[in-house]
Structures are given as C-alpha cells and as structure tokens.
Symmetry: C2
C-alpha cells in the first residue's frame, strides 16, 4: 500500500473552527486535560498542536505506536522513527504520538473521556482544517476477515442511528447521522488499492463484547445459537456489516462540535459473525 | 499502614466454586481469553493460577504494577520486586501481575470484557476460596480528598441498585445488591488504621466522566452549576458518597457467578463534588 498514491481527500478539510459546546470553558482560568496530562497553563498547546491536519484514533497503545512509526516512514517525516515519544507519557490512561495518533481504550466511556479532552485540545491549540480518523479492528457481519468496513452510519444495538447518554439523571439522545460524501470518497480511494477489500456499511456499537455482541463464549450466556443468529441476521438486513464498541459516541460528539470524522475498521480474525 | 496487622477477613473466603453461567462453555474444545492472551490449550491455567486467594482489580497499568510491588514487599513474598512481569504482556489491552493485580481500563465495557475473561480464568484454573477486590480513585460527594469509600451499594445514575445491559436487542437488568457483612468487616479493619479516614456509602456508576458526572469542564456541557448541584445533592441524600465508572457491572457479574467482591476507592483530588 503506497500512501503517496492516494488522491487528495478534499472533502475532509472542512473544519474552519471547532464549536466547543460549553459556555463554562470561557470563564475558566485554567483547563486541565486530566487524562492526557496536559493543561492550558502548563503547556503551550497552540505551539505543540496548532499544525495538526490529521488525528488518528484507534487500537491499543502498542498498535498505535507501530502505526505512527509506519506513517512517519511513509510520509518521510523528519526524526528518528525508533525514538518516537508518547506525548501523554506522564499518564498511562492514553498514549499519543505526534503525527497524531491516539489510543482510546475500549468502550464508549473510555473513548468519550478521550474525545472531551481531544476536542478541547484542538480548540485550545486553535487547529483549523483537519480531519479525525478512527481505525482499528472489529467483528464482521457476513464478511471475510481482512475486509475493511468504511462506516456509512453508526447504529446502536437497536439499529438506530443515535447515541443515548444519561446527563444529570435524564436520558439525552444525540444523532449519529453523517456528512454525506466522506465515506464514498474514502471508498473511491480504496478502489485504487488492489490488496484491500473494502465495503461501505453500517457499524453497530455495543457496550459489551460477549453477551452484547451475541458471543457464546463469555462467562455469562443466556441465549441459544439460534437466538444469536436471528439477531445477527436482523442486523445484517438493516445494513450492519461490522460490530465494535465505540463508534456511536465518536460520531455523535464530533457531529455536535462540527468536526469531520471518518471511521473505518478491518474485520479481525477474532470474529466473523454469520 | 501495616498489612500484617489486619485481622483475618474470614467472611471473604466463601467461594467454594465459581458458577460460570454459560452452558456453551462445556461444549467448547478450547477457550481463548482473547484480551489476556491466554487460552486453555496454550497455557496450564490450574498450574499458573490455581493457588489464587486474592485478585485485585483497579487503576491504570502503572499504578497496578506499583501496587503489586508494594504488596510483594509487605507480604515478604519471594522473588525480585523489580523484575515483576506482566502476565498479559503479549497484549496491551490489560496488565496482570502475579499476587494478582489487574488493570481493567476505564468504563463498564472495558471492565466487563476483563470480568468475562477473569471469571473464566478462575473457573478453568479451578480456584476456590478467594476474594476479588476492586480499588482505585473516584470523585467524592461531600467528602474530603483522601477519604476511602467502602461501597455499600452500587447504584446507576438514577440511584437504582441495578445494572442494565442490552443483550440481542433486549434490555436485561441485573441486581447489584451485595453480600451482607463484607463491607462492615472491611470498615472494622480500617478503624485500626489511624491514617486512613474511611466511610461506608453508595457508589454511583456513570458511563461518562464529564457530562455524566455533572462536570462543567467537558467539551460539551448543556447544564448550569445549579442543575449540577441539585443532582449531586439528590445523589447525596440517597446515600451516594462517591462516583466512578465501573462498579455496577463488577458487582452484578460477580453476583451472578457467586463471587465475593469488595469495592473500595479513595476520593481523588481531581474532584470532590459538593
């Protein structure tokens, strides 16, 4: 795969300004991004991060480190690939490498903490015209292992394009409907790569890896193989092509803050449902 | 704090056998604990883990490593404290140190994956008469930073002692009511330690660190300081003394499998609500 052969992704560059949706931020003397070990008083965020054009989120810390090294080499960026440093090394909650890669942990709560702090970081650093990518592995629904799924719509376990969250004891619903065109443009890119089978499909987000995704091998399982297959067939018929654990909150929060997002995940060998 | 001065926690030793609630496990030729990088065919689990008496879950990987080293020293266990190895080092999803400590990541989904695999691990290793501890930091509600909260009841953001999960598109509710006596016995232990202020209280589990816990400094915030205080006062009046992100699923899953659990967390400096 030769990254330099990719066509320009013009549609992605449309974040003239981040709309942080929190009036309290303006009145705060200092903003500490606790889980990144960064802050507006302790770090010069515009100098450190103001030039960002791409942020990649996904996978485990080691996987993101390897990917950062790979991209540094592909783009022939200056610096020693082996000495790439973790910007968040003062904490081990998340890892961050410049050319920017972030490991978000597993599940909606873990990635939502990261997103709050990442969006504020991009805001404080006054970043403009950048794109957020989310990459990683997932369970496929009726697909061969290795297939890449570019997400069309992020849906919850009831196949609805929305994300529900409880705020001060009340359920709040946020849409996950996406920017038209971005996923098609990415699919177009992938058609120029021979060795990467790629499809567009809906991505289902669950809050549990075992029972929540219909797996039969958890410590608890109260359903039959037939129940599982019936649910997965229903998912497939609504357009679901892969299952993972973070996509809905990622889309919903970025959508509120007017940030362009691309989520694509390869189908792992762990599970190829159906 | 001198661990050897602690009285025996007899009430904890009541796990004659783990009740794994999954009939499919009996029919499987091999059980791979994906996120631990362990399996029933590749590892002798009874030999590696059969002698376990305590499992400690909590905090970040580095914090758990330090705690494992501290306990190794306090209990004067054999082996070089500095060479303590991560049993899950083939993956960086979780970390595990023998004398047994596990870092579970942040949020219900991340800890639930760990719990499925930990419960199966203890089952395959044929462990008996052990206790599970969960430790870490949390946001306090009306408490001084540094206070330890021994959990009486784990409640959700509506103050109910239950954990809800979606399984194959249906909402399943599991109770988080606890073994009577365990938390009182732990409080009794703490009364013998001069420098550790300890209380018993309800622990509220949320799925978000910022909006979900009423914080005003997230990237999104749609409520006022007054709304936040009203919600936290309501929480306090129902008995909530600290807020974190994993307790309900921990209690609910262990309860189904008849595993004794103790959860206690110290109030961090990050937040002392109210």
């Amino acid at each position: 795969m030769n990254l330099s052969s990719l066509p320009p992704l013009e549609v992605l560059f449309k974040n003239p300004q981040i709309h942080v949706k929190n009036p309290h931020l303006d009145t705060m003397e200092e903003d500490v991004l606790y889980h990144f070990n960064l802050g507006t008083k302790t770090h010069n965020l515009p100098e450190m991060f103001g030039d960002i054009k791409f942020v990649c989120v996904g996978g485990s810390a080691n996987r993101m480190k390897s990917f950062a090294q790979f991209i540094q080499q592909e783009l022939a960026l200056p610096g020693n690939m082996d000495n790439i440093t973790d910007i968040c090394e003062g904490t081990d909650r998340y890892s961050m490498y410049k050319v920017y890669f972030l490991s978000p942990g597993m599940g909606v709560p873990s990635i939502s903490i990261m997103l709050h702090e990442l969006i504020k970081l991009l805001h404080h650093a006054r970043c403009i015209d950048f794109a957020l990518f989310r990459i990683g592995t997932s369970g496929g629904v009726g697909l061969e292992p290795g297939t890449v799924v570019v997400t069309d719509k992020e849906v919850d376990c009831f196949f609805r394009a929305q994300f529900e969250q409880v705020v001060l004891g009340k359920v709040i619903t946020r849409s996950t409907e996406l920017d038209v065109g971005v996923s098609k443009e990415l699919l177009q890119c992938s058609s120029e790569l021979d060795d990467v089978p790629t499809v567009i499909g809906n991505t289902m987000c669950t809050s549990d890896f075992y029972e929540g995704q219909g797996r039969l091998d958890g410590a608890l399982c109260s359903f039959s193989t037939e129940d599982k297959l019936e649910y997965l067939r229903k998912a497939y018929n609504t357009g679901v092509r892969n299952i993972e654990m973070e996509s809905t909150v990622f889309r919903a929060m970025c959508r509120v803050c007017a940030i362009s997002v691309i989520q694509n995940k390869s189908v792992s060998n762990v599970t190829n449902f159906l």
